[in-house]
């Protein structure tokens, strides 16, 4: 026993303390509990993993810890137990590690915010659920964590609940996720039906036992439903719309939840249930297609956004798409690899953006930035580190994970590869567009930029180091025992293409936004419709609004509310009330208030019983 | 049927002795009080007023038995009856000595050896309240009512420390039957310290003995706890409205209770009829010695009398005493009489303490009385009980 339960429970304790007493606690204590709990959790993770030999080539098999039986009904026996295998180990390291850094960062970032304790309470709660999700050894417990992180993301997106857009964004995220969770829960039911267990070990064991070619239809159904869930949580087409709005939350939240950890839950889940997906090529191809489509679309939208966080948000979506491509093309380990590296550089990007925003005291619009290179050099440096990482410039982390994905994509279907490459090009372009707009040229804002305190750029430095060197952590190799990787490098002819795309994107961005800023405007006016389409995100929100939201709203207003609720339900309720009061009107006469009457009734009952017994005796 | 006859004889005997004793205890009390207060006390009726009790009884019997018009007759009459009845019943489980042997027929010196005798006594003392309370209530008289209320409150309050104090020696001796209790206190430490429960290991019960005594005073409404009949505040308390024989009944009840309580004290704490020092040091000859000396003294005073009457009375007493002294020497009877002697002398001592304290101490105030019961006696008794239990458990 490695006392894995401590890992999620430490943040939970932090949440409890801050949530209940935070209002009265001084800031220093809040920081101590919030950051301390996560930090200790991180250290504990390291201790447990090293004890399990995760760093020394051990942990080939999953290490399971059973705590107690949760639900015992019929054949279904769901118990609360945590498991650690190499996949979980990677996720654990990412979640707790990045989490710790971001907590520390948040101490500085949220310094002036109101609701300080509330923020950290939510953040700790999120850590708890995320760790539960990662550690869970059965689908139901995973679902608990899944819903929990959804809840926390809702709470944190709506953190500035006084602003309207924040609350609406929170609602949007929550509702859209419901759709995905609906699919996920259906999948869980199917699994429960067909495997008569939700335990990972049992389910995947049985799944592996089945012959791949003759896999039953319900397997595909399960896989597709799981995919629905994953698209919800990991912001893939068609459910990605919530993620960009989610940037309404504080930047550390965007970094932790909407870049590094939570949104990768879908990837993790699919990778976790790989043995189900492997039995349904159809579902796999769905994953790949959705992934590449999302990647491309989001990247193209990202090209023209002016809000720095929006840009990074869309980049997140598209990177997630990359991960899905990895998963869909069978390179699960590559997907996870990209999860890790992406966690590094995207967290870094967001935190850096946060640092910029902090420096400009709230300014998020790229058009009001510029020339900040001198003013906030550290932030600039780390942001450029992240930029090169995400652009896939060798030998930085993004390069390796992205290449791994693209390799398997090429194996799977060359067109996916080419689209991926173009996406990579766009990625590099818009990221550096943002960076150049932010740091080069003339300062177009009217604030007085100031460099962030150490407590903020300290974590940034660490993340920068990681996103530069993170690529040398060979995750695919590490995950071999789980996902037998097919290492077939790109044919020499096109091995250089992705790198070239990345560098090309950077170069183009430099040309457009540093050398001659006139060009983009002219292009923009030249291809006005395209620009508008991109700028309005392909009008997806509007489409959803007219296609889904409005009908539902009208329908519920007219049908559900006026007819069903007011008519049927209220009628029934009132009817029940009337009946009850009518009966009560009759029974009221029983309650005369005279104790002797009550006693009389009791005695009458007793006499009845005795007489009945007497009669029975006679009857014998 | 033998059983019934024997019981009848015994109870008749006990009743006679007890009632006489009650009368004479009162005489003794008057005498002792008198001497404490440097008076002489009764000496008109009979030699040294020895016939005074008889005279009192006759007076009380022959007085007009009047019933006030404003009382609730039934309860008014019932109350003294209850009081004296409960007081007298409780003597039934008190053993006075080992046992009587006549030929081959033996019977214990006790009306009935109930093996929950102690509980029986406790129960009766609990019920004993009714007499007083009813009397107070039935008299339909403020003073009487207050007296009745006071006494019932006081009795209930002192029941607890008393019970606690009794429980401690029970723990030591591990029985509820008086006879076994006394047997449990036989023997000596180091050959001369008697194993009475006030000296008994592992935890001598001196504290609980004192608590018991105090509680007993309260139970029997004696000075310094005689609030229910505090003359100077309540006229005569609960028996204000009672006269003649009914008053005498309360009087008897009070003294009977005294006797009972003293007997219980002796049985539980003072080793019952166990001698004060071992027989090999000649404890067996103590009664002979005392009686003999007192007989001789009487004879001497008879030779040269202070008053003319003494010339006839004192020699008679002297002869009687000497005769008794002789009786204690008869080997066949001695083993029966010795325990009786020890028991009675111990009871006498306790009774004397009663009288002594009455002669010495002033009366409590009512609130003092209650708070004393609840804030001093009760906790003390409980603590004592715990310590005893602990000690017994540790042994």
């Amino acid at each position: 026993m490695q006392q894995l339960w401590l890992i999620p429970l430490l943040p939970l304790a932090g949440f409890a303390i801050n949530g209940f007493f935070g209002r009265r606690l001084p800031k220093i204590w809040i920081n101590a509990f919030a950051v301390g709990s996560v930090l200790i959790a991180f250290l504990w993770v390291i201790k447990a993993l090293s004890a399990l030999g995760a760093f020394s080539g051990g942990l080939e098999e999953a290490h399971v810890e059973h705590y107690f039986t949760w639900i015992q009904s019929g054949a279904l026996n769901i118990s609360v137990d945590f498991a650690v295998d190499r996949l979980t180990a990677v996720m654990l390291m990412i979640v707790t590690g990045i989490g710790t850094l971001i907590h520390i960062y948040a101490v500085g970032y949220m310094d002036h915010e109101s609701g300080y304790y509330r923020f950290f309470a939510y953040l700790n709660l999120f850590m708890f659920f995320m760790l539960t999700l990662v550690l869970a050894n059965n689908f139901l417990l995973l679902f608990v964590g899944w819903e929990g992180v959804g809840l926390c993301s809702y709470l944190l997106i709506g953190f500035y609940f006084l602003e309207n857009f924040a609350t609406t964004a929170g609602n949007k995220a929550f509702i859209v996720n419901r759709i995905g969770d609906f699919g996920f829960s259906l999948a869980i039911f199917l699994i429960g039906i067909h495997f008569s267990s939700l335990d990972f070990g049992k389910v995947f064991g049985q799944a592996k036992a089945l012959p791949v070619e003759a896999s039953p239809g319900w397997m595909t159904a399960i896989a597709l439903l799981l995919l629905v869930g994953a698209t919800g949580k990991s912001a893939q087409i068609p459910l990605y719309v919530w993620l960009p709005d989610a940037m309404a939350g504080p930047t550390p939240v965007s970094a932790l939840i909407h870049a590094a950890t939570m949104v990768t839950a879908g990837v993790y889940m699919i990778a976790r249930s790989s043995s189900i997906f492997l039995h349904s090529p159809l579902a796999l191809s769905f994953v790949a297609v959705i992934g590449i489509a999302t990647a491309f679309m989001a990247a193209s939208i990202g090209l023209v956004q002016n809000d720095i966080k929006k840009v990074f948000a869309y980049s997140t979506v598209s990177q997630l798409g990359y991960m899905f491509v990895g998963l869909g093309t069978g390179a699960f380990s590559a997907g996870i690899f990209h999860v890790m590296t992406h966690a590094f550089f995207k967290a870094l990007l967001f935190l850096g953006a946060g640092s910029v925003i902090h420096a400009l005291s709230g300014e998020q619009d790229l058009r009001h930035m510029g020339g900040l290179l001198k003013k906030i050099p550290i932030t600039a440096t780390v942001l450029f580190c992240a930029g090169v990482a995400i652009a896939g410039v060798p030998p930085f982390s993004g390069h390796y994970s992205k290449d791994a994905i693209l390799e398997s994509a090429y194996q799977y279907a060359p067109w996916i590869f080419w689209v991926g490459v173009f996406t990579a090009f766009m990625t590099a372009f818009y990221v550096f567009r943002a960076l150049f707009l932010c740091f080069f040229g003339e300062y177009r804002g009217h604030h007085h930029p100031h460099e962030s305190p150490f407590i903020m750029w300290g974590p940034l430095a660490v993340l920068a180091a990681l996103s530069l060197g993170g690529g040398f952590i060979n995750i695919p190799k590490y995950l071999e025992p789980l996902f037998p990787a097919s290492e077939t490098p790109l044919p020499a002819g096109i091995a250089w293409v992705p790198v070239a795309a990345g560098l090309g994107g950077i170069a183009l961005a430099y040309l457009f936004y540093v050398v001659s800023p006139a060009i983009p405007e002219s292009i923009g006016s030249m291809f006005k419709p395209v620009y508008n389409t991109l700028y309005n995100k392909y009008f997806v929100d509007e489409a959803y609004a007219s296609a889904v939201v409005d009908p539902i709203v009208d329908g519920s207003r007219s049908l559900l509310w006026r007819t069903v609720d007011a008519g049927a339900i209220d009628g029934a309720v009132n009817g029940v009330g009337k009946t009850a009061s009518g009966i009560g009107e009759l029974l009221r006469r029983l309650q005369s208030g005279y104790i002797r009457d009550y006693a009389g009734w009791v005695v009458a009952g007793a006499i009845l019983v005795v007489v009945a017994m007497g009669i029975m005796e006679v009857a014998k | 049927m033998n059983f019934y006859i024997v019981s009848l004889i015994k109870s008749a005997l006990v009743a006679f002795v007890l009632l006489t004793a009650l009368a004479y205890i009162q005489w003794v009390e008057r005498k002792v009080l008198a001497h404490i207060q440097l008076r002489i006390g009764p000496r008109r009726v009979g030699p040294h007023g020895l016939l005074q009790p008889l005279a009192d009884v006759i007076k009380l019997l022959t007085k007009e038995d009047m019933i006030p018009s404003h009382v609730n007759k039934f309860f008014y009459l019932l109350a003294p009856f209850l009081a004296v009845m409960f007081a007298l019943i409780s003597i039934a489980v008190i053993p006075f000595g080992t046992e009587v042997k006549i030929g081959n027929f033996t019977t214990p010196m006790q009306l009935t050896d109930l093996n929950v005798g102690v509980l029986f006594i406790l129960g009766l003392s609990g019920i004993g309240v009714y007499g007083v309370a009813l009397a107070g209530w039935a008299s339909n008289n403020k003073y009487a009512l207050i007296g009745g209320l006071r006494s019932s409150a006081q009795m209930i309050s002192y029941e607890l420390p008393m019970a606690m104090a009794i429980a401690a020696p029970l723990l030591l001796l591990n029985s509820l039957s008086f006879r076994e209790l006394v047997d449990g206190q036989a023997g000596f430490y180091l050959g001369f310290i008697p194993k009475w429960s006030i000296f008994h290991g592992p935890f001598p019960q001196i504290v609980s003995f004192i608590i018991f005594l105090i509680a007993a005073f309260a139970e029997t409404n004696r000075v310094p706890f005689d609030l229910p009949e505090a003359e100077n505040e309540l006229v005569a308390g609960f028996h204000t409205e009672y006269g003649s024989m009914k008053f005498a009944a309360f009087f008897m009840a009070e003294y009977a209770n005294m006797v009972t309580v003293s007997c219980v004290a002796v049985l539980l704490f003072l080793g019952g009829w166990q001698p004060l020092w071992p027989a090999e040091y000649g404890s067996g000859f103590l009664p002979t010695l005392i009686l003999g000396i007192s007989g001789l003294v009487c004879l001497y005073h008879g030779m040269n009398p202070a008053r003319p009457m003494d010339r006839f009375t004192l020699p008679v007493f002297g002869v009687v005493f000497l005769g008794l002294a002789g009786v204690f020497l008869i080997p066949a009877i001695a083993p029966m009489l010795l325990p009786l002697f020890w028991f009675l002398s111990k009871v006498g001592v306790v009774l004397f303490i009663y009288i002594w304290i009455r002669g010495t101490l002033p009366r409590f105030r009512y609130d003092q009385l209650m708070s004393f019961a609840w804030t001093v006696m009760f906790p003390l008794a409980i603590v004592n009980l715990f310590i005893t239990a602990l000690m017994v458990a540790l042994n």
Partner: protein, 106 residues
Amino acid sequence: MPPIPESVPFTWYLILSAILFTLGIAGFLFRRNVITVFMSIELMLNAVNLSFIAFSYKFKQPDGHIFSFFVMVVAAAEAAVGLAIILTIFKNRQTLEIDEVSSLKD
């Protein structure tokens, strides 16, 4: 007139207890003085105790005694509280008539 048996038939105890219990009920129902009603309850409790003791005599095991002991203890607690309540009622309404304390219905 049947001959008197040597030992008391076991059922007699139960019947006695039943009679007492019924009398308790009667007292409860027909009396109006709160205190008397309370005492009728005590009477019923006693009746029940009797049957407990009788049964534990029949089955030769003391558990019945234990139970009736508990009944007594609880009755003591009940008496303490109940009498306190009665005192309060009297303090507030200057009555012990159970029928005048009927504000429960409104």
